[in-house]
């Protein structure tokens, strides 16, 4: 097991990068060099120095501190989104794939309808109805992610439902619910893990995109997407701001992408 883990370089590097990012995010909750929201008017757009390792933004807030706390926000939103998507997507996929027939057709056509909308546009609708904020962004993105998970999980249940071990479970008198979630579900873990990883990346980008447009996480809370959008205005005066924030997003996604590819290879 350990050997296999080391041999799979993508999995290893992905796990290391993701591990470091998670550690940083957790550390950001308890400790940041400065208060992420404290403004220091004397340090507006300060450059990189020993005092401010990544410089300061236009309000004189320490960028490193804001990245550390923003990392946590971004991760939480992404994880919440993935959780909502996977949880409901799996349930819908399980029922539609296992039973098939008319309910399957109806739900899947509804699914197609949701998928046909550009996701950001749909998120905009949700946000304008429910209002902005961390929680609402998570819920809106989560709901948007349900159809694609449902589709993937449906395929998996469809693949498994006619296999002999499912038949034999039925002969033993196992209930449909038990067959779906105790017998079939563990066999979908590989597919589920890689879709979770891909979904996590999409969620990070979607949150960044929504915050960039100003409908995601609201100021003064920091999030990587929001910071990147602020950094845009100072791209030529203080490129370090955009570079540092962008690097954090890239690393977060790179780590998860490699992790997911590694997991797929190990399947």
């Amino acid at each position: 097991m350990k050997k296999r883990f080391m041999k799979n370089r993508r999995l290893f590097i992905g796990a290391v990068i993701t591990g470091i990012m998670v550690l940083l995010a957790v550390a950001g909750v308890f400790f940041t060099p400065y208060d992420p929201n404290a403004m220091d008017t004397s340090a507006k757009l300060a450059g990189i120095s020993l005092k401010h390792l990544m410089g300061c933004d236009n309000f004189g807030r320490d960028i490193l501190s804001r990245i550390l706390s923003g990392l946590g926000t971004t991760m939480l939103v992404a994880l919440g989104t993935v959780f909502i998507g996977v949880f409901f997507g799996t349930i819908i996929g399980a029922f539609t794939g296992y039973y098939g027939g008319i309910p399957d057709e109806v739900l899947m056509r509804f699914n197609d309808a949701v998928l046909a909308f550009p996701s950001l546009l749909l998120a905009l609708v949700f946000i304008s109805v429910m209002g902005a904020g961390k929680l609402n962004v998570t819920i809106a993105l989560g709901i948007l992610f349900i159809p694609s998970y449902a589709r993937i999980m449906r395929g998996e249940f469809l693949r498994c439902k006619n296999l002999d071990y499912v038949r034999s479970a039925r002969l033993m008198g196992a209930s449909d619910i038990r067959i779906m979630f105790v017998h079939i579900l563990p066999n979908t873990v590989q597919v589920m893990l890689s879709t979770i990883a891909i979904g996590f990346n999409n969620a990070v980008l979607a949150e960044a995109g929504m915050s960039y447009l100003g409908i995601g996480v609201q100021p003064p809370d920091s999030s990587l997407g929001r910071m990147l959008s602020e950094a845009q205005s100072y791209l030529f005066i203080r490129p370090g701001y955009a570079v540092c924030t962008g690097t954090a997003i890239v690393l977060l996604i790179l780590g998860f992408a490699m992790l997911s590819e590694g997991l797929e290879k190990n399947a």
Partner: protein
Amino acid sequence: MSSKILTVSHLNSYYNDKTGKFGEGSRRRQVLKDVSFEIGRGEIVGLVGESGCGKSTLAKCILGIVKDHDGEIVHGSKRAQMIFQDPYGSLNPARTVGWILEEPLRIKGELKDPERNKKVSEMIQLVGLDDGYLERKPGELSGGQRQRICIALALMMEPELIIADEPVSALDVTVQDQILKLLLKLNREMGIAFLFISHDLKVVYSICSRVMVMKAGEIVEQGSDEEIYKSPKHPYTKQLLAAVLND
């Protein structure tokens, strides 16, 4: 209680053929035609016939997997269990052998944890394996070992009849022999009846006391193995026997 544990009378079965051209819809095709037979307690009955003649469909009808049929199927006091042809697909690849064997007991919910473990361990020894296999996953076992696990799984439900659909055709000859011996042992010691489905007349001859020959969904001839092999009446049976004797 009668000595018959399975009575099938005038069974017809159908399936929907969806392979037609687009827009044609599906056609209902008849697979089994007026099939009638009985299986007595502790009997081993062979069912032979070429691929696609409806042997597996008959098994699925008896087990209730195929629902589109008419005619009558009367079980004994307990439901029949099944051993599948492909020992690779019939065990859940994501679970350990111990978990798989314990599952029927969990579903029944009569026994407590330590009793369940004891029964699992008894059963795995009965089929010629030991407790060391319980922690493994089906992927780590050979075809013969898997088939033993499948047999143990079927036995967990304490059936009177086990339907074995080509249980040895995916195994090599030496392993085939071991599995057949195991089935015979279970038949003698526990009185379990078998409906043994196979296309291989030699295998059927070696363990069955009675043989049914199926062609295109009909049972064309049935009788004791001596009768079938020594003096076949139906031309199809003669043809089958000739094919075996030639190789």
